[in-house]
Amino acid sequence: MKRFAGWTLASPATLLIVVFLVLPVLATIVTTFTTPGGPFATYAAFFGSGFRRTVLWRTVQVSLATTAVSLVIGFLTAYVVSRSPGWLKSILIIAAVFPLLTGVVVRSFAWLIILGKNGILNSTLLKLGLISEPLTMLYTQGAVVVAMVYLFVPLMILTLVGVLEGIPDDLIQASASLGAKPAATFMQVTLPLAVPGLIVGAVLVFTGSFTSYATPQLLGGEQVMMMGTLMYQQAMVTFDWVAASTIAAVMVVITIAIVLLMTRVARRLNPMAV
């Protein structure tokens, strides 16, 4: 009976998800298997092209780099925030969330001004005499990673603060009273207990950066094409919807695969946590 009530309550949301998410995604993927060339022709074409393989590999690299850097920065920040007194904590959280109040395009555009040839960074370095010619920083893979880290760190901090706050102080004190040094307590108590938060954060950041469009478009352009920008080009400019659907299908499969992999690694690290 309880089970039935649960299903009934969940059915409107489930219906919405099925109609507006599952079915469209299936319809998109089905079109890639029904081309005249045979069911796998579009995938053969995708993986047969050196350029497309480069774009895929670059997207994976950029997303993994963004996730790794965001994990480190996000975890350290969240650790400090969660150990701060109440009033300071609120200020720090507001500061961390503040960038989320502006749009993705604005936040990416800011990096155009910082990293440009006549940008803040180059002109400062020139003034300090550290460089004699402006460095080329825009329209590189590095620029995309920097901007994406900036985009996603707030998300990581928010996810982790909640998890770190949930770790009872008793455990930390118990660990100390049993003779563990602060570093050992951190490594053996705090970090393993934070794994669920780390995984949720990593999944959010990875999928967000893997599917991002505005940031690679603005800071990378054609030179640093990623899966999102390539898909836009195929769908909106060359009108090759089947090729665009193929890219979408590849993205869905890879995202699911990497998320499963992350969960699995997490389970191995901490069987209790997941």
Partner: protein, 344 residues
């Protein structure tokens, strides 16, 4: 309470009455266009046309690609008049989205330049004409650019922006690269793309929208670009020292066309509208107010007004033309090769 009911009834009746002229005609013209210059187009084109036809006008706005995609999704329906740059209208024609035009229904065709009347084999006419050429910042590029071949000059290293392959002007870069290599890019794409590759060290970033390119100039990222002439005014507003290069080989003509999609609900109204925007009076006003260069031969402009535009029979006769059928056929292969050069 009674008062309230009376008031509501009176207001409803008034609303019905005021809506009556439109519903008597009952027609709505749907226009798909970019959405630029909205206020000027409203006063020059839309308000007088509404008065003439007694109809409603609604819009679909967006860039070429997005709008063409929408029309394609609806199998040519949902829009009565479609504005596109010529390379995109050619794609629409090849996808079977536009109707053939009956010239008898457009008397104003007689008054426009020959090349604008029927640029794409029986489909919509061009209502404005532009040029693709080279713009450069005269303070940074000290030796003037006078030929397409100058793009390969060493002093332009890391200072150039090209239109992305998927934009109107993108494939023209490949054709120019072919000419630079002394071949026809359609016949010998390998040589043409070798020349594109040779151009790569000069390229900072390729752009997909006019505003992106203007940004590249205003932030000092680039000092030269291949561009369409309608962007020049905006670039100069940001960087006054940017000039239009006078090229020995001539610039390339681009036309913006108006077409009637196959699924248009009001084709007769669409004909009326297209004829309206080709009339000498409307073309004169659009040119004077800096909206579109005229194709109507009877438009006369002062030298200051004309400085903005591709204007005058001599200038127009000197422009190079592009075979869009051939270009679009080659485009999809070219997109991959271009990506392999700039995206690897």
């Amino acid at each position: 309470m009674k008062n309230v009911v009376t008031t509501v009834l009176a207001v409803s009746a008034a609303a019905l009455l005021s809506a009556a002229p439109a519903s008597a005609q009952g027609k709505t013209l749907t226009i798909s266009w970019w959405g630029f210059n909205g206020e000027k187009l409203e006063s020059i084109v839309l308000a007088p046309f509404r008065e003439q036809c007694g109809c409603e006008i609604v819009f679909e706005t967006g860039n070429n690609g997005e709008r063409l995609n929408k029309i394609q999704i609806r199998n040519g329906g949902g829009v009565d008049v479609a504005y596109f740059s010529d390379s995109f209208s050619q794609q629409g024609i090849e996808a079977g989205l536009f109707q053939k035009i009956d010239p008898a229904k457009l008397p104003n065709l007689a008054g426009i330049y020959e090349l604008a009347r029927d640029p794409q084999g029986g489909y919509g006419p061009a209502y404005t004409i532009g040029r693709v050429g080279i713009v450069y910042d005269s303070t940074k590029v000290t030796t003037p650019i006078t030929s397409w071949n100058d793009l390969w000059r060493e002093d332009l290293a890391a200072s150039l922006s090209l239109p992305g392959i998927t934009t109107t002007a993108g494939p023209m870069v490949v054709m120019k690269a072919g000419e630079h290599a002394g071949v026809d890019a359609f016949a010998d794409p390998d040589a043409a793309f070798a020349a594109v590759e040779a151009l790569k060290p000069n390229v900072v970033k390729n752009y997909n929208t006019g505003s992106e390119m203007i940004n590249l100039f205003s932030t000092g990222e680039v000092s030269a670009a291949i561009a369409q002439d309608f962007t020049l005014g905006q670039i100069q507003a940001a960087v006054p020292t940017v000039v239009w290069a006078e090229l020995a080989e001539g610039s390339i003509a681009t036309l913006n066309t108006v077409n009637i999609p196959t699924g248009a609900a009001e084709p007769e109204l669409a004909y009326e509208f297209i004829n309206f925007i080709l009339s000498p009076e409307i073309q004169q006003q659009l040119a004077e107010q800096g909206v579109d260069a005229p194709v109507n031969t009877s438009v006369t402009l002062t030298p200051e007004q004309a400085a903005l535009w591709t204007y005058g029979a001599d200038l127009i006769a000197g422009l190079q033309r592009i075979d869009y059928v051939q270009m679009n056929a080659a485009k999809s292969g070219w997109v991959d090769r271009w990506n392999e050069i700039f995206g690897m």
